[in-house]
């Protein structure tokens, strides 16, 4: 990788805001966060994937991927980051470089032309240009092309230098954050600015979750200046440095952005979550407190408490009918990072039993929170190989699996209910309203009469067909 990228990656591994890093020794830290991969036994996306996840929700720009077809071709339009207007971000745009470009070294030229073509066709406020492995390997200088294009064409071209092979999705999230810090945030001034402006970092508006939060903020007179990056417009992100408070929602994904915005512009940040009733209330309180500290009118605190009280009451009232139906049901939670503890507490609020929760991607802080919630770490699991998970589910160790798409069929083939709580999910689970949705979906899934039917073996598999036929009251006996 280029020297500048190498420096970036090392710097990210030293991120002081990341508690996982702080706990490490000097030597360990040097090695970085990425675990060595095992050929033939690896899974998970690349850094480019991570960068794309983090930036794609900026809805009014073109996201242009410089590389051979597969990087973008196999992955575009695959998430449900929702937009309240522009749809430009949903295009799948790639230079689709050919053997010729590689042999002739014409990749940079092709990239420049590609940038020119998309600007001519769509006139976007900016173009985000992603590097991938092959251009990185043959030495295409994406940053230089972007500089040149920005000068020549007058549209900001943002280089996102996160070729897949430098590391994991998580690293890619952070490199995306670096691209925002280096080239976007602070480059424009907002049209309006109020003492109650906040940014939310690491929220991607999957299935429209942002719209479960925004009304709460609106009610309190808190202005969401920029969501980074869910349903964001370029201008909002570029002027995000004028907000008063940053809230970071997805664990450590954009921690570098939060910390550097504090360094550069003195914007305090806190880490919170909008999953679960308690967490939502805690987050609203924290926003209000920080805003008041930053000079917002003090009555915000009381108004926040009022809203919390009424919304919590309303949520519990909506949840009440489900409590009886769900209490005691056993859940296996298989997801990463911040979602684990926030969902654990949410499920416990319903009287459900969490029989296991994965802590694969969790920080020590996350683990501590889970351990506090579950009374010890007995049920924290690391990686469960699919075969093992299948066996557990077949045995009936859990009534339902909550996980991402990768393990969907482990549950379904074991004939156990499954609910998607990862990026590809179709339901919005944020805020008080989202909790009600989650519980409703859990109930729908668990109470579906289909489960019993599919678990029954075919009658001839279990022996006596005559008994089976005689038992069937609807059939007229054959005499």
């Amino acid at each position: 990788m280029s020297e500048s990228l190498k420096a970036k990656v090392t710097e990210l591994f030293n991120e002081p805001g990341c508690d996982k890093n702080v706990a490490k020794g000097e030597k360990e830290r040097k090695k970085g966060c990425s675990k060595p991969l095992t050929p033939g036994a690896a899974a998970g996306g690349c850094a480019f994937d991570g960068a794309k996840i983090a930036l794609q929700p900026i809805v009014d720009v073109v996201h242009l991927v410089h590389g051979p077809l597969a990087c973008e071709g196999n992955g575009w339009d695959n998430r449900h980051a929702a937009s309240s207007g522009p749809t430009l971000y949903r295009l799948g745009v790639t230079t689709d470089i050919t053997e010729m470009d590689i042999v002739m070294g014409s990749g940079e030229k092709r990239l420049y032309k590609a940038i020119r073509e998309v600007i001519a066709r769509y006139a976007p406020p900016a173009v985000f240009v992603y590097s991938t492995c092959v251009p990185a390997l043959i030495g295409d200088d994406v940053e230089a092309v972007c500089r040149h294009a920005t000068d020549k064409l007058g549209t900001p071209c943002i280089p996102v230098n996160a070729p897949g092979f430098v590391g994991s999705k998580n690293l890619g999230n952070k490199l995306a954050g670096e691209a925002l810090l280096d080239h976007v945030i602070g480059t424009m001034e907002p049209e309006v600015s109020t003492p109650t402006d906040i940014n939310i970092l690491g929220e991607y508006n999957l299935s429209g979750e942002l719209w479960q939060i925004r009304p709460l903020l609106d009610r309190l007179g808190i202005r969401l200046h920029a969501c980074i990056t869910g349903d964001a417009r370029y201008r909002e992100v570029a002027s995000a440095h004028r907000a008063r408070v940053n809230m970071m929602v997805c664990s450590t994904a954009l921690i570098n952005v939060a910390r550097k915005m504090e360094d550069r512009w003195g914007i305090p940040y806190f880490e919170g979550s909008f999953y679960g009733i308690d967490d939502t209330s805690t987050a609203l309180r924290a926003i209000a407190q920080l805003l008041v500290k930053q000079g917002a009118p003090a009555d915000l605190l009381d108004r926040t408490e009022e809203l919390i009280a009424s919304e919590e009451a309303r949520a519990w009232q909506r949840l009440a009918p489900y409590r009886d139906r769900l209490a005691g049901k056993r859940v296996l939670l298989y997801t990463g990072g911040v979602k684990s503890w926030s969902i654990v507490s949410a499920l416990q609020e319903m009287g459900m039993v969490v029989v296991g929760t994965s802590v694969r991607k969790s920080t020590d802080n996350d683990k501590k929170k889970i351990s506090d919630l579950m009374g010890g770490d007995a049920h924290m699991v690391d990686n469960i190989p699919p075969r093992e998970m299948y066996a557990q589910l077949r045995r009936g160790d859990a009534d339902i699996l909550l996980s991402g798409g990768r393990t969907q069929f482990v549950a379904l083939k074991a004939k156990v209910p499954w609910l998607d709580i990862n990026q590809e999910r179709h339901h919005a689970f944020a805020g008080y309203d989202g909790m009600v949705t989650l519980v409703r979906e859990l109930d729908r899934s668990l109470s579906n009469p289909m489960w019993q039917e599919v678990r029954n073996p075919a009658p001839w598999e279990v022996g006596d067909i005559d008994a089976f036929l005689d038992d069937a009251p609807l059939l007229v006996p054959i005499s």
Partner: protein
């Protein structure tokens, strides 16, 4: 003959094609006890895996050699070796099919040679059959990757003809990448009903037909069996479907001496007649009554359906052979192919497409052409949904990937029955769009009267 237009643009907006390694992985998935292994970075595999799962709604065994930056620069044979050993130890597959990606091909090493060395020095791998296909993403698309993988399997697994081979009433079938499990099942059924034994390579109808097994198996479950692939020389004939399968079929022919027929498509009355006649000749059996009946049902469907096809304007975007098959189907029923876009240009099928021009391009080219010519339906894979929405015309989903519909594996479009059902699908789509007539529909019944303003022509003088 269609004029072929190669779009000269630096950017592809909304790609039509899927990458070659994905096609290769798909082919390897049609072999029993198999794990496809992409030689490249883990990210490429992750994207491919997600897409395959979204299409088939099944677990897909797919692994990666997990090349990171240093390995890429130093050379990838160590990772390949490690991956093979790890897979063999952990999941004991019977077969591993390797497909290279752009990343490792950019370095241009001799991976096939490396593989041979690895197999020679690792006794642990003795019970696993391993093949390698070179499928850089920057050359070709799904059809090419699929065909190359099939060729790789043929050249390393099939036993060449020898005097010891006992001929058998066997027919080899080499389906193209767009035959669904249901299509393959129907073909097998057909071959069997003539008293012949079908050996299908690759056979997705066993592995990706969507079934629930009684245990968790980390490899494919079902598909072409290695023992049968070895014995392909026993067949009396090989049937390949689509131009992209010509090369693998010819390779098989040269190894085994088995004669072959390449069918450009098996959708439509005429191609089905040819297939049935061929099977009848090969078997020496009369055409079973069942197919006479199915043929008659298809003829009836064509009679009932043609009202809805005649003059309809169709825009199709697909890989070359699928594009060829579909455009002949539509044109054969009286529709007009107003936009034909192919994912790649390296196929002889394109010349035969019944359209004025064939564009080698992406979904944006398809959308633009469909708009320009007033297409009434967009025929392409699921990624066409954004374009169809903008055009405000229905999308008929074909090819790969189809991720926003269920039952893709069971969609049948070959044989008399498949063609019949396809006619109904399309006709129903159009019938769903039908609107009640209003006076505005007849606005041009009479030409508008010409109002002369500036010059007044006096009527001819009468005497």
């Amino acid at each position: 003959m269609a004029t072929i237009i190669q779009r000269r643009r630096a950017v592809s907006i909304n790609p039509l094609k899927s990458s070659a390694p994905l096609g290769a992985a798909l082919a390897y998935l049609g072999i029993d006890g198999s794990i496809p292994l992409l030689h490249g970075s883990q990210g490429c595999t992750s994207f491919a895996l997600v897409l395959l799962v979204r299409h088939f709604k099944e677990t897909i065994p797919l692994q990666t050699t997990a090349m990171e930056e240093v390995a890429t620069i130093l050379g990838g044979s160590g990772n390949m070796e490690e991956a093979l050993l790890n897979l063999t130890r952990r999941v004991k597959p019977r077969f591993i099919g390797i497909a290279s990606t752009a990343l490792v091909e950019t370095r241009g090493e001799d991976y096939a040679g490396d593989l041979k060395l690895i197999m020679d020095r690792q006794p642990e791998l003795a019970h696993t059959r391993v093949v390698f296909a070179s499928t850089p993403d920057y050359a070709g698309a799904l059809e090419d990757g699929w065909a190359r993988a099939v060729s790789a399997v043929i050249s390393s697994i099939v036993l060449p003809w020898s005097p010891a081979v006992t001929p058998f009433r066997q027919v080899n079938i080499l389906p193209g990448v767009h035959q669904t499990p249901a299509d393959i099942e129907a073909l097998k059924d057909m071959v069997e009903s003539f008293g012949l034994y079908p050996v299908v390579l690759p056979d997705l109808s066993g592995s990706l037909d969507g079934h629930v097994a009684d245990a968790w198996i980390p490899t494919t479950m079902g598909g072409a069996r290695l023992e049968e692939i070895e014995q392909m020389a026993r067949a009396t004939h090989t049937i390949a479907i689509g131009e992209h399968m010509r090369a693998p079929a010819e390779l098989l022919g040269s190894l085994t001496g088995v004669p072959l027929t390449v069918f450009p498509t098996l959708t439509g009355l005429a191609p089905c007649d040819r297939l049935v006649a061929l099977l009848s000749r090969l078997s020496g059996n009369a055409v079973p009554g069942r197919y006479r009946r199915e043929r008659s049902q298809l003829v009836d469907a064509m009679l009932d359906g043609h009202f809805h096809f005649g003059g309809r304007k169709i825009a199709i975007g697909a890989d070359p052979d699928l594009l060829c098959a579909l455009s002949h189907f539509f044109a054969g029923m009286g529709a007009e192919i107003v936009a034909a876009v192919a994912s790649t240009g390296n196929s002889p099928s394109l010349d035969a497409i019944p359209a004025e021009t064939v564009i080698i391009g992406d979904l944006t080219d398809l959308e633009d052409a469909a708009r320009e010519h007033g297409a009434e339906v967009l025929v392409t894979h699921s990624h066409g949904r954004q374009g169809a929405h903008r055009l405000d015309i229905p999308l008929m989903r074909v090819g790969f990937p189809i991720f926003d519909r269920l039952g893709t594996a069971h969609m049948l479009s070959v044989g008399y029955r498949g063609t019949r059902d396809l006619i109904f699908r399309v006709a129903n789509l159009f019938m769903g769009q039908m609107h009640d007539h209003v006076p505005a529909d007849f606005a041009d019944v009479l030409p508008a009267p010409i109002v002369e303003e500036s010059s007044h022509v006096s009527p001819p003088a009468t005497h």
